[in-house]
Symmetry: C2
Subunit: 208 residues, 2 copies
């Protein structure tokens, strides 16, 4: 392919930047020219941080979350309850749950959800390793915390069946009206579920 | 500041990415997690390309365009006409004009336009060096190719006055209806200018 820019160094940087999702060549050029206007230190720090991150981060052998060590800090934290495992789709979901500061159990990162449309079957996800982990003993409850989407629900049901003979408690996140949302703007399926799964008002003060 | 992520390598990469203009921490995290899912080679290539670009690219001592050499390939190209200099705001504008393949003269990159609102005075731009270049001789025409904005027009007028006693021809880009645009959607100031500066129809076939 013909070079777009006179400078092959600029061409290289723009090409590499535009391989990132959501960045077209126009945006990539804008970012590259911005870096050229800054101190050399900024581009060097960015470049080195990306390389160090990719080289230094691996996946936890227990829960498949990102980790700088074989077993991640969450799995090896003695203050956390190893008898509860929250099953999530991605590493980002672990970050979201950690930010709530409400959860003290461990995680299991699937790496996606079953999606026949995208050619993702159960074998491409960390489902076998979840079943093995539960069969290994010591786990009382598995919380399915996947998206409330068609693929998420399918995956939850698949995992529920796979765990059927282990005797573990399988729960899932409550479905209901989002905090801060008006009833008027809540869809009817969510409203229906929130009615069926209604909770005692007194419990909403956190002493349930 | 407290770390947002357990991994300081992820924290470092997200922090550096989010220093880029237009990238918030959410987008930075998305990009970092994307790189973690790709082959190590991709993050390393990106990091190295950014560092190599920043270290290898400097500014042409003649026209102030980006260059890997002291004098850029455009300024040192013997096939180009050194008697015509096109004054542009940024490096990006040089790329845009080069893409037209219509221009065979040289450039002068100002590095911005005069903008009292943003605290940019003439001394922060490559205007003195333009005047020196013209006074150095050998230049017949200076084409002002700045934006048709308030700041762009102010800067053009300032440069026009600074070049007043050099005897050089000072021209500016034609203002008119954008190619592909309907009259209906063209603003009245542009329409007025396009009427005053109308050209002979026969000239539009390129033989003018």
């Amino acid at each position: 392919m013909e070079q777009e820019f006179e400078s092959s160094l600029l061409e290289g940087a723009v090409t590499e930047l535009s391989r990132l999702p959501g960045l077209g060549r126009k945006t990539a050029l804008r970012l590259a020219l911005h870096l050229l206007r800054q101190d050399e230190e900024q581009a060097v720090s960015l470049g080195e941080a990306l390389i160090a991150m990719r080289r230094g981060i691996k996946y936890c052998t227990v829960c498949h979350n990102i980790s700088e060590t074989d077993v991640c800090p969450i799995c090896s934290d003695p203050r956390r309850d190893p008898s509860v495992v929250c099953v999530v789709e991605t590493v980002k979901d672990v970050i979201s749950f950690e930010k709530t500061r409400q959860y003290t159990g461990l995680y299991h990162v699937l790496g996606g959800v079953i999606s026949p449309m995208d050619g993702v079957g159960p074998d491409k996800l960390e489902i076998d390793s979840l079943v093995d982990r539960v069969k290994g003993g010591g786990i009382r409850e598995v919380i399915l915390a996947l998206g409330a989407t068609m693929d998420g629900e399918t995956t939850s049901f698949y995992i529920y069946r796979r765990l059927g003979d282990t005797g573990v408690i399988v729960s899932q996140l409550a479905r209901g009206v989002s905090v801060g949302n008006e009833i008027e703007y809540t869809d009817e399926i969510t409203l229906g579920r929130s009615l069926i799964n209604r909770t005692l008002f007194a419990d909403s003060f956190g002493n349930g």
